[in-house]
């Protein structure tokens, strides 16, 4: 399938009567999850994973990515109105969003955030589309040895560049890798780490593990926090005044198109590096916006450029992160890891098969991101006040209701009671990991990449013997991994206070 044909097919699939309603519904769900402080993109995707089993691939992709696309928009809204970032990636929006609200310009900030998000996402998606012809060629150069090294590189980057300290990040990554190997070995038929339990012969299912690590653990956290999720009051503006301001904010954003473009480029570039994620991208873009502004002193006191910079980078990240996920099967973040798991559930193998044989699905992802963000912007624009009220929901009410859906979702996949036990066990493990600063994204990426690591290790050993890592590309990747590790270990070694390294960099 040619690129042009794939692009048209992707667009037609995304706008078809079967997919579009699912995409719109998922985008609205993502927006709502984003608005609720404490719940993030990976939670939204983890919640939706059990539902994709009964879906066609195009519908499933739109369902997952549609929800993920709008989470940052919802989070931006909460950050601006309540000084609480709905998701971690909106932290940079806190610098200028709330001061604008205090000045009575909440609507302008919301309008700017909504449009910046959409434009940033469109930019990231466009870059992904433009990269596709190159990715198709590059991926052909990769064999088992290279994929094995790529998987190791992804695990290292996620662990090293993530929020937790290196040791804890790597522990989480290798733990995920180890647990993914539970079950019967496909090559020898040897049952591994099953301890006599037949339920473990097929290994630990992805869905219950995901739901436990990302969903149940968040519910535990939500329950422990209790009370309203956000305190304070919504803006005193009437709906009409708010809409007027939102429109002004949108116009102001379009006037600063060059800033949007530059910050989106920063976001997309950061997205290409596994492990960095949206939060550093938005802070980098914010710093860039401040540096290049004519009035840098007003940043932090309610400058609309601060909101535009942070929010456009936020969503542009996804285009970059998707590139490594679809081309090499290497997820750059926890959300991309969940998407990767979802693709596998839908019977789609990322890498050569996806970019070579199904480029239309990659374009479907591109259009899903664009349409999802448009839906999010429109809904966010017209439903600001009702959405804002969602933050007054009590954690003590929300947690049990969502727990019921999570447990039912986990059971529904295989209709197996063992999966519910797995959800509960991994829910507790996930909560402890969150509390003790072990990287959950690294764990889940290790878990998802386990199969790929083992398969490619086996093939590499068969093809090239124990020195497989001396293949040219594999060796370069090995050097890169070693350099990143050595640099970071050296940095940690320089730190004199051991306590600093326990709680992060």
């Amino acid at each position: 399938m040619g690129i042009g044909e794939a692009a048209v097919s992707g667009l037609l699939q995304a706008t078809s009567l079967q997919v579009l309603p699912v995409l719109v519904g998922a985008a609205l769900f993502g927006l709502i999850i984003g608005v609720i402080p404490g719940l993030s993109g990976h939670f939204a995707m983890a919640m939706l994973i059990p539902f994709i089993y009964t879906m066609e691939p195009s519908m499933g992709i739109a369902f997952l990515l549609g929800a993920h696309a709008t989470v940052a928009q919802g989070g931006g809204l909460t950050a601006i109105l309540f000084s609480v970032p709905g998701t971690g990636q909106n932290a940079a929006t806190l610098l200028d969003g709330p001061p604008m609200t205090e000045k009575g310009l909440a609507g302008q900030a919301v309008g700017a955030a909504m449009v910046s998000c959409s434009l940033g996402a469109a930019f990231g998606a466009l870059v992904l589309a433009l990269m596709l012809p190159v990715l198709r060629e590059v991926v052909l150069l990769f064999g088992p040895a290279e994929f094995f090294m790529l998987a190791l590189m992804a695990l290292t980057f996620i662990a090293v560049l993530g929020k937790s300290d290196i040791t804890r990040g790597l522990i989480a990554a290798f733990l995920g890798l180890l647990l993914s190997l539970v079950g019967v070995d496909n090559v020898t038929g040897q049952a591994r780490f099953t301890f006599g339990s037949l339920s473990l012969w097929d290994g630990l299912s992805l869905v219950p593990v995901l739901l436990g690590i990302f969903a149940i653990s968040e519910m535990v956290d939500l329950w422990l926090k209790g009370g309203s999720l956000a305190r304070g009051s919504t803006s005193n503006m009437s709906a009409g005044q708010m809409q007027k301001q939102i429109f002004i904010g949108m116009v102001e954003t379009f006037k600063r198109w060059w800033l949007v473009l530059r910050c989106s480029a920063i976001g997309t570039l950061v997205g290409l590096i596994p492990g960095l994620g949206s939060a550093p991208a938005s802070f980098l873009a914010y710093a860039h916006a401040k540096q290049t502004s004519k009035d840098p002193d007003s940043f932090g006191t309610g400058n609309i450029e601060g909101v535009i910079g942070a929010e456009s980078a936020n969503d542009a990240v996804e285009g970059g992160a998707l590139a490594s996920t679809v081309a090499f099967g290497i997820p750059g973040s926890s959300s991309m890891a969940i998407l990767l798991g979802g693709l596998m559930i839908l019977g789609i193998n990322p890498g050569r098969e996806l970019v070579g044989e199904h480029p239309d699905l990659v374009f479907l992802m591109v259009f899903t991101i664009v349409i999802g963000n448009l839906v999010g912007s429109v809904a966010g624009t017209f439903l600001v006040n009702p959405l804002a009220r969602l933050t007054f929901l009590k954690g003590s009410i929300l947690a049990p209701c969502l727990v019921v859906i999570i447990l039912t979702g986990a059971y529904a996949v295989n209709q197996n009671w063992f999966d519910i036990a797995v959800v509960l066990a991994f829910g507790i493990i996930g909560y402890l990991m969150k509390l003790l600063n072990y990287s959950r994204p690294a764990f889940i990426i290790g878990f998802i990449l386990g199969y790929m690591v083992e398969k490619n290790l086996y093939l590499s050993m068969k093809l090239y013997g124990p020195t497989f890592f001396l293949q040219p590309i594999a060796f370069v990747l090995l050097l890169l991994v070693s350099a990143v590790l050595i640099y970071n270990i050296w940095n940690v070694a320089r730190s004199k206070n051991g306590e600093d390294t326990i709680n992060g960099h």
Partner: protein, 169 residues
Amino acid sequence: MATKENGSSHNYVLDIFFCSALALMLILFFTRALGYPIVSARAPLLAMVPLAILLVINLVKIIRASSVQRVKDQTHKQVGEEGTQLKKLVSFVLWLVFCVAAIYVGGHYAGVFIFLVLFLRFMAKERWRLAVMLSVGMTLAVYVVFEMIMGIYLYRGVIYLIWRGYKVF
């Protein structure tokens, strides 16, 4: 529970417990892996060897960063007055187990309804009216989403199965 991300409020007791549990699991896995054919043991060992080294490094770091007095203080806090968060966590987990048990016995619909009503009333301290209304709404939502839209037949529970004459579950 100490959740703030600075050294003084880091929960060393829980951290040491978590690391030790991982270390025990690793020893168990390691002894098992040594009995597998080399092809099957290769990938697990590839994960376990660095994991073991990292766990040792981490434990050393935790022990260096904490002191016996600090661990003692935290242990007292966990079980004393400031241990309300821990109690809340344990009670939430127990309620989750109750939810699963209720579903197993009463089936998804009855189990979900009973769990929600009791949780919202006694744990969340909501009024009976709100608790019942929310529980009915959520039970209906589960039915509509899973059974009507997705066509998944949810578990009907032991009581229903016995009533229908099943003897093997």
